[in-house]
Symmetry: C2
Subunit: 431 residues, 2 copies
Amino acid sequence: MKSLPSQPYKGTRDYYPEDKRIQNYIFAIWHKVTRSYGYEEYGAPLLEPLEVYTAKSGQELAGEQTYTFTDRGGRVVAIRPEMTPTICRMVASRRMEMAYPARMYSIANFMRYERPQRGREREFWQLNVDIFGADGVGAEAEIITLADSIMKEFGAQPNDYVIRINNRKLINFMMAHYFGLDGAQAQMMIKLFDRKNKISEQEFNNQTREIFGENADEGSKKVNDILRASSMAELPAEIRESSVVKEVQDLFTLLERAGVVKSLVFDVTLMRGLDYYTGMVFEVFDTHPDNQRALFGGGRYDGLVGLFGAEPISAVGMAPGGTMMENFLEVHGLKPVMPSTTDIYVAVIGDEAREAGKFARIMREKGLNVELDISDGKLDKQLKTAIKKGVPYIAFVGEAEVASGIYSVKDLINSKEHKLDIDGIVKLIRG
Amino acid sequence: MKSLPSQPYKGTRDYYPEDKRIQNYIFAIWHKVTRSYGYEEYGAPLLEPLEVYTAKSGQELAGEQTYTFTDRGGRVVAIRPEMTPTICRMVASRRMEMAYPARMYSIANFMRYERPQRGREREFWQLNVDIFGADGVGAEAEIITLADSIMKEFGAQPNDYVIRINNRKLINFMMAHYFGLDGAQAQMMIKLFDRKNKISEQEFNNQTREIFGENADEGSKKVNDILRASSMAELPAEIRESSVVKEVQDLFTLLERAGVVKSLVFDVTLMRGLDYYTGMVFEVFDTHPDNQRALFGGGRYDGLVGLFGAEPISAVGMAPGGTMMENFLEVHGLKPVMPSTTDIYVAVIGDEAREAGKFARIMREKGLNVELDISDGKLDKQLKTAIKKGVPYIAFVGEAEVASGIYSVKDLINSKEHKLDIDGIVKLIRG
């Protein structure tokens, strides 16, 4: 028989313990910070009917990137490529019973067909944070403050990232009233802004002229005016005076109050790809020269819960990804060295397997993580195993140790040796 | 447009916060106990090539129960229905680099087509614990002891469950040498034993006679002798004297030493469905009259890593499921009431939103989980929201409170009121 392949499925990743520890570190900070803002964790199914995504997520995500298949009951389903439609479905299903604003979060796995590139994987892990039933800009302020708190909890400095903010209503106003584009043109222009950093300036200008058609000269000039504006004050007066700008200013005020200052940027060209956004959108952007890219983003999507037959309710959310976060930590020198979760390895001298087992049991009862050797192997081989596994301590249990109650313990990281009783060992490891 | 359905995909479950808390309670005990035995966590892809399961998992699992589809690259893949082939692939891929015995665990989601029944879901969560490279019966002893420790950590009493133990080699010996069955007959007889508790005695006897064919009378008698044996000592001498029985006895000795005594049963009719088991098999069986069923099981499967082109290595593992565990806790009155993860709700009196925000920030810095009201709503509505969410405390922040630094705090569970400064509030909640 031919051997089975030992590589993981294309675009997915095997997390060996040393990789999983880093992922767990990221998850732990996500849990901690998100809970500290009063969000409660939920869990959700891996599969949804495909129509849940075709409704509002946009053609790229629902059509090209989704793992879709027909199940044995003839239903066309998709492995979730994102959480937003699912959590909206869950809120819709308990629309009347829930208390609002409802603060919900999850950490889950997703799949998308992606061309392999840095930070993009076909299976990825994502935190989803959403607040339902808060209409005011206080909801955006809270979600963006939470995003900022997460970045700070990872040790990021204000210069390591910027938070870009825009508003879909402002985009729509700009498209219709400033650029004078019709619906189809506006869609194309939004997609083009979205790809701005991925194509050349020349290419961007050519496509802009194409979209504006007979108004290419005037359109191109207006687009360039927009691109030059680096703050709200520099926007053309027609846009600056629209009522949406007041909302954006309120948001900035709330964010400054909450201590999110240095990293904030208003960016009228920020679009965010998903079709369901209806108001404020934002993204956290890595400023490191080796990793200049959006880390994650979010925004307001007030129309989604209503699609599931429930009374509509407002919503703001965001979704940081695990691998993106890991890359960020790496390039900024913030990725910690995570030790083994095992505290101590128990080596057996001679025939003392039974006593070593008892010793391990006592240490476990005292709350330690204890790996017991069951190899009946030589002592130096047991020691090598403990070192190879990265377990920080090893204790030796033989006849003399059992008789005296004093065990020799090696600190394998600092190469020190101790002679201690059981309580002493526990204290050594805890300290 | 027609509304989208708000129900979860058939056979899957929405975990709202109150459900997720119970799942997290179960996961936390799994993590804690498994790590205490020195197992390290890994993560693995959701998809594998289908052939990984057809190789050894058996027709039912790989053929009938697996969610299979062809991906956009023409690969036939499956959503993992179990973890064992995946972790074997991962070990095979680093066969030379890893230290043995390797102790690995994961908590992950899986999918299988199942007929809906109590404790069976199409998407389910499972702990997988495996030890690689330990040939002796000490490996089985450790895994079964770990299973027992998990049950005890959940508060189970020795009479709440039994651990049934058998050995595939003993089964094979019994089939070939005691029953005198050929390969095909043995397969049928194993499947029949496996279904024993799901069909009537009459049905079982009829099918037994059919399998034995012309030796129906003698075969039926021998099978009944086996069924009557409730311990190794009562087994027919031909089986009792086989060398495998010695191995089983050694295992029992080790388990008794480790304190796994009252719950142990030798059951020669225990088969465990999966084709890859090669030695000891076991299952933890719920003894409650309302839930008499196998909760989970495991065993030795020495042949699987070798299928992935690596040098073969021995393996013992087990896989408890989340919903099964939840049902167990429920029928035995062990399911805890899990409070909200949010510690305190901050209500805003009048125009003090800004000060309330500052108050919330300080409480978060002190490590509390704080939900801040951003509704600008009436005070009694804010209070109702906190109660509906099950947050245990609410603090009120108004002009007088800010001026005095003394806040009124309601304990919503015990209906008590306190007047405290910030440190006092933290102490109250922590205590």
